[in-house]
């Protein structure tokens, strides 16, 4: 079982490495070409190798998703620890954090992103787009993590070992580092993986709607979007990115379940 998990992690690392590759060059004479030795998955509508596009596109989507999940995690953990820790003494800090989380969690992410991206990303290059999508998804995904971490902090700081440590004179940093963090980490990693799955879906939806990556960057959503015009004549051009998206989500979810089982 553990070997399978290692394989999943290795596969995810291999996929993430695809971002180092250059975008494939179009050859118009190869447009919509079938699967062959030179092009194992065939070519797209402007003659780009689909396998290369898929690798690079998956890497772009996954980097965005992973980066955004880490940003959400950083914001959520910071806010959650602050809220949970101040729930006893400075209740207004806890109240402000929770009301902000309540408010942020009712804003629909995709329409908000559409509004911001359509204006800000006009004429932007790949790096800017990637940063914008990553930071945007990250900044919008923190409320659920804040609630989780706040609950954990409240529960763990009232646990007998922590009360005993406090009785022996341990300071807050020590309690958070030694008693709270080791218990919370597996749960947070499982949540991180779930976040990556939802971010992959959100990024592909944004790119599909035309506000994430540009057409030449070919993230998974863009590949899906560009395959729509020839979905009946060349269904493989749709199925390849769709399958890759599902496989990525399943792989990351599997890693998350591995962490979840460890809690």
């Amino acid at each position: 079982m553990k070997r399978i998990h290692v394989l999943f992690v290795a596969a995810i690392a291999l996929v993430l490495g695809g971002v180092l590759r250059d975008a494939p060059v179009p050859h118009v004479e190869d447009a919509h070409c079938a699967m062959q030795a030179a092009h194992l998955l065939g070519c797209d509508d402007i003659g780009r190798d689909l396998l290369q596009l898929l690798w690079r596109g998956t890497a772009l989507s996954m980097w965005c998703a992973v980066g955004a999940a880490f940003i959400s995690m950083a914001l959520g953990v910071g806010g959650g620890v602050l809220a949970g820790h101040s729930a006893q003494r400075r209740r207004w800090v806890d109240a402000v954090c929770m009301r902000a989380a309540d408010a942020a969690s009712v804003v629909p992410v995709l329409p908000l992103f559409l509004l911001a991206a359509a204006f800000v990303l006009r004429g932007a290059n790949t790096t800017t787009r990637m940063l914008f999508v990553t930071i945007g998804l990250g900044v919008l995904g923190w409320p659920s993590i804040l609630r989780l971490v706040r609950g954990l902090t409240l529960e763990l700081t009232a646990a007998p070992p922590v009360l005993a440590a406090r009785g022996f004179g341990a300071n807050t940093t020590h309690i958070l580092r030694v008693h709270v963090w080791p218990v919370a980490m597996p749960m947070l990693l499982a949540h991180l993986c779930a976040d990556v799955v939802s971010n992959v879906a959100a990024e592909s939806a944004l790119s599909f709607l035309g506000v994430g990556f540009a057409a030449q960057d070919a993230s998974l959503g863009r590949l899906l979007s560009s395959s729509m015009s020839s979905i009946h004549d060349h269904p493989w051009q749709f199925m390849a990115p769709a399958l890759m998206l599902v496989v990525c989500a399943l792989g990351v979810q599997r890693v998350g379940m591995m962490f979840d089982a460890g809690t």
């Binding site: 009301r99 309540d102 408010a103 969690s105 009712v106 804003v107 629909p108 992410v109 995709l110 329409p111 908000l112 559409l114 509004l115 911001a116 359509a118 204006f119 800000v120 006009r122 659920s144 799955v197 992959v200 879906a201 592909s204 939806a205 599909f208 709607l209 035309g210 506000v211 959503g221 899906l224 729509m228 979905i231 009946h232 269904p235 749709f238 769709a242 998206l245 599902v246 989500a249 399943l250 979810q253």
Partner: protein, 347 residues
């Protein structure tokens, strides 16, 4: 007791309303900030970067969008005056901005009936509410039935595995996959069961035509909703069947379906309200994908169109309305959770 519960409910609603008001203020400020932060002249972006634009046209756009005023004043006008900056287009003076592309108040674009007889708002409701309610009923019935004490344990396990797999399929893949599959099956034949749109172009306005067009989007939405709801129901129903009062009722001879209807289903639904409240904003946001793929004339697709046309006030207002919808659903579900919970009822 009842009076204090009512006062508590009122205070919760008042607090939530203040939150919503703050959100509205923030979102409208965001719209203004986005436009103001554009590089170069923001007015050119409204004209979709056309090459040969006369200076008078640019000035008219600046005046129409309030760009010739300081940001704070523009924002205050949006909320409190709402007559000065946006009346240029056709002379309307309605509140909350004018739609540049539709040449009418943004509010009217969303809520007034269009040529097909229904407003954008109504089309969205018609698309999303029936499959959601149907999926909720299916999930409750199947979940409670599968976890009854006399049932085999294999079925819930199989369902949990299946729902895990289903939930990892992103909505965009699910939606496009259904369109591709049905399209291939029907071989592009639009007679009978059309793939796209909400009404036939031939002018058929009957109920059967409505149902024909809605069938595929509803099916896709239900394929997305049912696994998510079923998973929640299965987890909760397993616990509720083992609660002492349910076991006592069964020991006194109540049939399993009476226990299911009387004891288990209300508790499961009550505990479902919390996760549902957290889930609603994602569903509201995801509507953009579904409505875009199926060319459905709903609010979410209007949002995409307005963003593509740089119709900033319309898109800000749609965002505010979608946020309000999510807020209302969250508030109602939270109140229902407190009401249906055995601990919350006494509070």
């Amino acid at each position: 007791m009842r009076r204090s519960w009512f006062i508590h409910l009122l205070s919760v609603l008042a607090r939530r309303s203040l939150q919503l008001l703050a959100l509205w203020m923030l979102l409208s400020a965001l719209g203004i900030a986005v436009v103001r932060s554009l590089p170069g002249d923001p007015a050119e972006h409204f004209l979709l970067l056309q090459n040969d634009v006369a200076a008078e046209d640019l000035q008219a756009v600046r005046a129409a969008h309030g760009l010739d005023q300081p940001p704070l004043r523009q924002w205050l006008h949006f909320w409190f005056v709402a007559k000065v900056p946006w009346h240029v287009a056709v002379g309307h003076t309605d509140a909350w901005g004018m739609s540049r592309t539709h040449q009418q108040p943004a509010w009217a674009v969303m809520f007034d009936a269009s040529d097909d007889g229904w407003s954008r708002w109504r089309w969205s409701l018609w698309l999303h509410l029936p499959p959601f309610l149907f999926a909720l009923c299916v999930a409750l019935c199947v979940g409670v039935w599968c976890t009854r004490p006399s049932a085999t344990t294999k079925l819930p396990h199989a369902l949990m595995t299946m729902t895990t797999l289903m939930l990892t399929i992103p909505s965009v893949v699910l939606t496009l996959g259904c369109v591709a599959l049905v399209g291939a099956w029907r071989d592009g034949d639009v007679h009978g069961w059309p793939l796209l749109g909400a009404r036939s172009t031939q002018g058929d306005t009957g109920v059967f035509d409505l149902l024909q067009h809605a069938l595929l989007p509803w099916s896709v939405l239900m394929v997305g909703y049912v696994p998510a709801l079923l998973r929640l129901v299965l987890v909760r129903a397993n616990q509720v069947w083992m609660q002492p009062h349910v076991e006592a009722a069964r020991a006194y001879g109540s049939s399993w379906w009476r226990c299911a209807w009387h004891d288990v289903a209300p508790l499961v639904f009550g505990s479902l309200c919390g996760p549902l409240a957290a889930w609603v904003p994602a569903v509201v946001g995801g509507a953009v994908v579904v409505e875009s793929v199926f060319a459905w004339p709903g609010l979410a697709r209007l949002q995409l169109e307005s963003v593509q046309q740089r119709d900033v006030w319309l898109s800000v207002l749609i965002l505010m309305v979608l946020t309000t919808v999510a807020w209302m659903a969250t508030t109602v579900l939270d109140v229902m959770r407190a009401w249906l919970s055995p601990h919350g009822a006494s509070r």
